[in-house]
Symmetry: C2
Subunit: 433 residues, 2 copies
């Protein structure tokens, strides 16, 4: 298992930052995720979450607190230049930030910004966004709805299926999602162009890439994780009625491209090191892997024990002061394909990745009731509605619904770390056609 632990992971480590040591928080000193933020009226900057604050990295560089190579890249408005330096630089940044924030270091409150005082932005400028299909439970459940006679296609266990998504419509957490219009066709009569009636979320994690590879130079599986800077939350909002009508033969297009929301925090692979687990074992009757997708280290430690969760709060629930209702909870450790396999496969034809590219996992679903990562699965394509505490029913997302994704890691003997949240509220779209 690639569990390279060092002093930054010590569970006893504490920070001088107020609120950073509260149990159950997402951002103790053992986490140190990277993100981008903007103070009102100022330009974008990059920072590291610590408790309810963030460490302003340009301010750290200005005070001479980072090494020279880091100091030249942390003044940029996005993480791309940091990602381009690769994982060794991220490890140095982690070590330097940990030393700065540790309880035995002098308190430097002038380097902090309250998270609630700033706007959290997309962590990187994403050049290309691709999305996987790495949960075999999701693929099987969705396959059964779209192709009852043929749920899991013959290629599924041989290669990590993925598709290209739209980079322009990636938005930061908190951006409302406008209900898309599109063509839908019931099969009886001609299609109509109307607001989607089957708006859905997809609970995912995504890898942000750095340093990238040259065109024509595939990334072997054994070094694929050197290309993964870390993970963030991804909600790949989907319009199922549009998808069902458009997806043959070239895949989903407008059913996805209206918006994809990213969580604000990039949790580095270093921070995730204590939570590495073996890749999901392949079943005895699964076909053998081709060599470019098979690696002993990936089998031994290619998984991540990350709990992911989606919850919903309708407008009526919010008006009544009710808490969100949990819809989905699953473990990322159950994915059929590892992130490293997604990277190795995506570059196996020579395709180049650039710093800041996003490779998302696809919907994270598990085998048990309530572990499915989207409403399509949870409601059996709308045939079994969910009941909300208000008595409202949901076969798909309604206008005013707020959807929140969260993810975290917990393990005995280690500090709990989290990904923050990825939120979006559904807005009606009125439009003269």
């Amino acid at each position: 298992m690639n569990m390279r632990l060092d002093a930054t992971h010590a569970p006893t480590l504490r920070s001088w930052v107020t609120g950073a040591n509260d149990p159950g928080g997402d951002f103790p000193i053992q986490n140190l995720p990277l993100g981008c933020f903007r103070r009102p009226g100022e330009s974008a900057r990059i920072g590291i979450a610590i408790g309810p604050h963030l460490l302003d990295l340009a301010a750290c560089a200005g005070a001479g607190l980072l090494d020279d190579a880091l100091a030249t890249v942390v003044t940029a408005p996005t993480l791309n230049a940091v990602l381009a330096l690769g994982r060794p630089a991220l490890s140095r940044l982690r070590a330097q930030a940990s030393a700065l924030l540790a309880a035995d270091a002098p308190a430097r409150p002038e380097l902090l910004v309250a998270q609630e005082a700033v706007e959290l932005l997309l962590p990187a400028q994403v050049g290309d966004y691709s999305d996987g299909y790495a949960s075999i439970e999701h693929a099987t459940n969705v396959g059964r709805l779209f192709r009852p006679d043929n749920p899991l296609l013959p290629n599924y266990k041989h290669l990590p299926i993925a598709y290209h998504g739209r980079a322009s419509s990636l938005v930061a957490s908190g951006t409302p999602v406008r209900r898309p219009w599109g063509q839908r066709c019931s099969g009886e009569g001609p299609p109509e162009f109307a607001p989607s009636m089957m708006l859905d979320y997809e609970l995912e994690l995504g890898a942000l890439i750095g340093p990238g590879n040259a065109l024509g130079a595939p990334v072997p599986l054994a070094s694929a994780e050197a290309q993964i800077a870390g993970l963030c939350l991804v909600n790949d909002w989907s319009a199922r009625d549009i998808q069902r009508w458009e997806y043959q033969p070239l895949g989903p297009f407008l059913s996805k491209s209206f918006q994809t929301s990213l969580g604000p925090w990039l949790v580095t692979l270093d921070a995730l090191a204590p939570f590495r687990v073996p890749a999901r074992p392949r079943a005895p009757d699964d076909p053998p892997l081709l060599p470019y997708l098979d690696d002993a280290a990936d089998r031994a430690g290619g998984g991540f024990a990350i709990t992911v969760e989606a919850s919903l709060c309708s407008a009526q629930m919010r008006a009544g002061g009710m808490p969100p209702l949990r819809l989905s909870r699953a473990s990322f450790a159950g994915m059929y394909w590892t992130l490293a396999q997604l990277v190795a496969h995506q570059t196996s034809n020579g395709c180049n990745l650039r710093p800041g590219d996003l490779i998302a996992s696809g919907t994270i679903s598990g085998p048990t009731p309530g572990s499915q990562g989207c409403l399509l699965e949870l409601t059996h394509s709308g045939s079994v509605p969910l009941e909300l505490p208000t008595g409202e029913q949901r076969r798909a997302l309604a206008d005013g619904d707020e959807l929140t994704l969260r993810a975290w890691c917990e393990r005995e003997g280690f500090a709990r770390i989290g990904f923050g949240s990825c939120k979006g509220v559904v807005l009606a779209t009125d439009r003269a056609v």
Copy 2:
């Protein structure tokens, strides 16, 4: 028909530039396509093709020969900032360049660079690349090979099918294409990971976008062409064996993402104005269009009479001094869907386009023998090989083959204009798996 002609289109107009007035050339003064170039050892600049030369636009701005708004954007290394200004700015640039280059203007050879002395680059930095499927002949021919019982899917005549491609692997004309490795599966036995044996070209045109639209603000069909700066050649290299195995259910991925080649020249919609034709009439039994895809002006003039051609020259042909063999010739006027319909559809869900985004047409095929725009169609998926003048046979592209795309417009009473060429030679990829 949107045939707004002005003095820049006059067939009698001539230029002081040597070679620009030669009949049959691609770049008379009536064309003035935009591109990016680099002198050896210098940084990238933007220019306008004129005969065998190009007009250095930064030099024009430096000499005070362009209006202020243009002068501030033509010093950039790509066309993106010019595209962001939208079509009115492109029209002004055309008018000002035409006046500078006209035979009655003073010769300014210091503003010219010989095309053969520079490297021609990608015309823009493409944020998102999407690719259509707009030729019904192509969709039918390919559908028959992949799904003999179901060639044209029920959605085809209702919406312009498209998919997201990979932006990182877009390359300039002249870049060799490395034969990709990938999974292929004959259906008997397990898949293997090996070099693609069915490497193909796809003869396409693509629209470069400007100025773009905001997320959530669809572009109505009636104003879609205001978002199309112009067209360039696109070769969407495809590995058919990889495609056949991977494309279900999420569409083509690694079969396309190893490389896509762009021609160097953006021929503006202004330059194409004399060659506007009605959109292909829908057949009497075609279903009616939904209103968002139906517009009288688009029906009357949404087509372009552009001849497109692909030719092949094998290594043996080049060694023997033989000319390339024409494989495909078709008219872009025969496309089932117009470019404006592609733009209106792609944004109909609220998806945003950014300046420099690329929307390609999909393979351009016609109904007659020799008008099919890829080898998959021409050889019936390899079952009917093509014979080259050397006696060599081709079921797919072989190592050493050079593929060249060209496109041009000719019409009685107007100057012929062309797109230059988009070339690539196939390289073998040796690799330790």
